[in-house]
Amino acid sequence: MTKKFKAAIIGPGNIGTDLLMKAMRSDIIEPVWMVGIVDSPGIQRAEKMGIKTTTEGVDGLVARFDECPVDFAFDATSAYVHRDNAEKLNALGVTMIDLTPAAIGPYCIPPVNLNQLMAKGKVDNVNMVTCGGQATIPMVAAVSRVQSVDYAEIVATVASESVGMGTRDNIDEFTRTTSGAIEQVGGAKKGKAIIIINPAKPPLIMRDTIHCLTADEPDKDAITESIEAMIKDVQRYVPGYRLVNGPIFDGKRVTVSMEVEGLGDFLPNYAGNLDIMTAAGLRTAEMLAETWLSQ
C-alpha cells in the first residue's frame, strides 16, 4: 500500500470544502484537518466527514499539531493572513499550497512548471496563481515550448455566481497576477489578462480564449500536437477541460478557446474556474508527494 501524505485545509468555505471532497478521493493525499476561525457550516461538514477540526485558526492547528501532523497545508483563506499562516506552518516543516493571491512562493501551474520548481530544491510554498491563470497558462506554455511567443493574451469569461467578494474587491489583482504569470510561467515575453463576468441564468460554464502572437511563422503541426498533449495533461486533474475551438492560425496569431467544466463536488459544475483551482492545488500536492516517495 502506498504511503499517504497528510494534509490540512485552512478555510472551510466553498473552496476549502470542494478541495476536501477531492482530497478524500486521492490515492496519496489524506486530508486530516479542517481549520476555521468560527464554528461554521464548513467546519460541521468536515466533522461529519470524519476530519479533525479546529476553530482556533492556524494557532489551533499548531497547538494540536502532534495529535496528527501534516505534510501539506492548503490555504484557502485570504492574502492578508496567508503570510502568517505560512510562517507558522513552514516552521513545522509543512509545505504550503497557497490558493490565495498572496503569492509569497513561486507561481505554480502543475503540468507546466512544477517539475522545474522541484528540480530547484525543496518546495515549501507554491502559489496557485488565479483561476484564469490555471485555465489558460497551460495553453500559452504549449505554444511557447514549441517556439518563441512575443505576446500572449487571455480572456476568461466566468459566471457571476462563481466570482466571490475577494476577487471583486480587488479585480486588478486578478488582472496583474494573471498577466505576470503568463510571462513568468507561460513563457510569453508580454502577457495580458482580461476577465469578463456574465450574470446569465443558468450560469455559463467558464470559457477562456487564449491568443498567442509568435515571433516567427507558427509551426502549425508542432503547436497543434503540443496543445493536444497539454490538454491531456490538464485533463488528468480537470476532466472537464475541453477544447472548444482551435488552434486557429492567422498569420503569427494562434488562438485557442477552451471550456472548463468542474466536477461538481461541492462547487457547481459551471464554476470550472473554482474547480480548476482546487484540482490544481491537489494535483500539486500529489506531484510533490509522488516525487518524495520516489526519492
Binding site: Y151, E153, V155, T157, S160, M165, R168, D169, N170, I171, D172, F174, T175, R176, K192, I194, I195, I196, I197, N198, P199, A200, R207, T209, H211, L213, V244, N245, I248, R253, T255, S257
Partner: protein
C-alpha cells in the same frame, strides 16, 4: 414634454465610442483636429480612450493606432475649455491606467461595469474619487435588468464615491419609457448631489428621443457623438441633440452651428463606412446585443458564410455582456454547422 430652462452637460463620445467603427485606427492628427473643433464649439466634456476603455489595446478588441497615453497627451494640451474624460472597465483596465490618465490631464473618470456587477468597481471608483476626479459609475447594458435592480447597483457605485451614475443603453435597445422608469427611480433614490447621466445608442433610432426622456426624468449629463460616430448605429448624434435641446429651451452652452460643422467637416470625412441603422445595427437594438459586436460579427460572417445579423441575434439570445467579442467566432462557426 417641457424641459425649458434645464441645464444639460453634453459629453462627446466620437473619440472613444467612435473608435469602434474606426477599428481603433483614428490618427493622432484626426483626434486632435476633432477634439479642438469640439472644444471651439463649446462642448464641455470629450471622451478620449480606446473603444473598450483604458487598457483595451488587445488582440481581442483590436490594437489601436496609438496608445491611450499618446492620444490623451496629444488632446489634453490643446483644450481651451473642454475637459477630457476616460473610460475604464475593471477586468480590462486597472488602477494603474487610472493614474496614467490622471497624469495626462484627464479630469473625469468613468468606471464601467455590466449593470449587475457594480461591485467590481469599488477600488477604481474609490481611487478616482480620492484623487479628486469627477467620478462616474457607468452601468452598461442597463436594459437587461429592472429599474429596481439597476438602482441597487447604482447605490453601490454611489457608496464607493461616484458623484454621477449613468444608465447606459449599450445595446440601443431601450425605448423612451424604459429610460423614463429607470432614470426616474435613480433620481428619486440616489443622493440629490449625485448626478444622473444617460448614454444612448441609435440602433433603434431612439438616441435623441431616449435622451430627452432621460432629461425629463432628471438626467443632467447626456452622451452623444458628433455625426453619431460610435458603435452599432452610433451614439445619439450630438449635433442633433444640441439643436433639439436648443429648440426646447434647454441650456447646453454649445454653439449648435459650430457643432454641426464639427460633424460635417471634421467627423464625416474620417468615416470608413456610413454609421447608420443598417440591418445589423437594427438587430443589435431590437434583440439587445452589445453594440461593439457589430464589426466582429461582420468579419466572422464573411469567414464562415453565415448572416452577421444571425450571429448578433444568437449573441443576444445567449445573454452575452459587453466584452464577449471572443465568443462571436464560435457562434459563427456553430451557426455554419462546423
Amino acid at each position: 414634454m417641457n424641459i425649458q430652462g434645464k441645464h444639460v452637460t453634453l459629453h462627446d463620445m466620437c473619440l472613444r465610442d467612435g473608435m469602434h467603427p474606426k477599428q481603433h485606427q483614428i490618427s493622432i492628427d484626426q483626434m486632435v483636429d476633432i477634439a479642438t473643433a469640439l472644444d471651439q464649439a463649446g462642448v464641455p466634456l470629450i471622451e478620449v480612450t480606446h473603444g473598450d476603455g483604458l487598457g483595451g489595446a488587445s488582440v481581442n478588441y483590436g490594437f489601436p493606432a496609438h496608445s491611450d497615453e499618446e492620444y490623451l497627451r496629444a488632446v489634453t494640451k490643446e483644450m481651451k475649455q473642454a475637459k477630457i474624460s476616460a473610460l475604464l472597465l475593471p477586468g480590462i483596465g486597472t488602477v494603474d491606467h487610472l493614474h496614467m490618465a490622471l497624469d495626462c490631464g484627464v479630469t473625469t473618470m468613468r468606471v464601467a461595469t455590466h449593470c449587475t456587477e457594480a461591485n467590481v468597481s469599488r477600488q477604481h471608483i474609490q481611487r478616482s474619487r480620492e484623487l479628486g476626479l469627477d467620478t462616474v459609475g457607468f452601468l452598461m447594458m442597463a436594459h437587461m435588468i429592472s429599474p429596481e435592480e439597476l438602482l441597487e447597483q447604482a447605490l453601490l457605485m454611489e457608496s464607493y464615491g461616484a458623484n454621477c451614475i449613468y444608465c447606459t443603453d449599450s445595446a440601443g435597445y431601450m425605448l423612451p419609457d424604459d429610460v423614463t422608469v429607470r432614470v426616474e427611480l435613480l433620481r428619486e433614490k440616489l443622493q440629490p448631489s449625485t448626478e444622473i447621466g444617460f448614454h444612448g445608442h441609435h440602433n433603434m433610432a431612439m438616441g435623441v428621443a431616449n435622451s430627452l426622456a432621460a432629461i425629463a426624468a432628471g438626467a443632467v449629463r447626456i452622451d452623444g457623438s458628433a455625426a453619431g460616430l460610435g458603435a452599432g448605429a452610433g451614439n445619439t448624434p450630438l449635433e442633433v441633440m444640441a439643436a433639439v435641446l436648443d429648440r426646447m429651451g434647454a441650456h447646453t452652452g454649445v454653439d449648435i452651428f459650430k457643432l454641426m460643422d464639427v460633424a460635417e467637416d471634421h467627423v464625416l470625412p474620417i468615416l470608413d463606412e456610413p454609421v447608420r441603422v443598417g440591418r445589423d445595427a437594427l438587430v443589435l437594438g431590437y434583440a439587445g446585443a452589445y453594440s461593439s459586436f457589430l464589426l466582429f460579427a461582420k468579419r466572422a460572417a464573411a469567414k464562415y458564410g453565415v448572416g452577421s445579423h444571425q450571429i448578433l441575434l444568437e449573441m443576444a439570445k445567449r445573454r452575452t455582456v459587453g466584452g464577449q467579442e471572443d465568443l462571436i467566432e464560435d457562434v459563427a462557426r456553430q451557426l455554419a454547422g462546423q
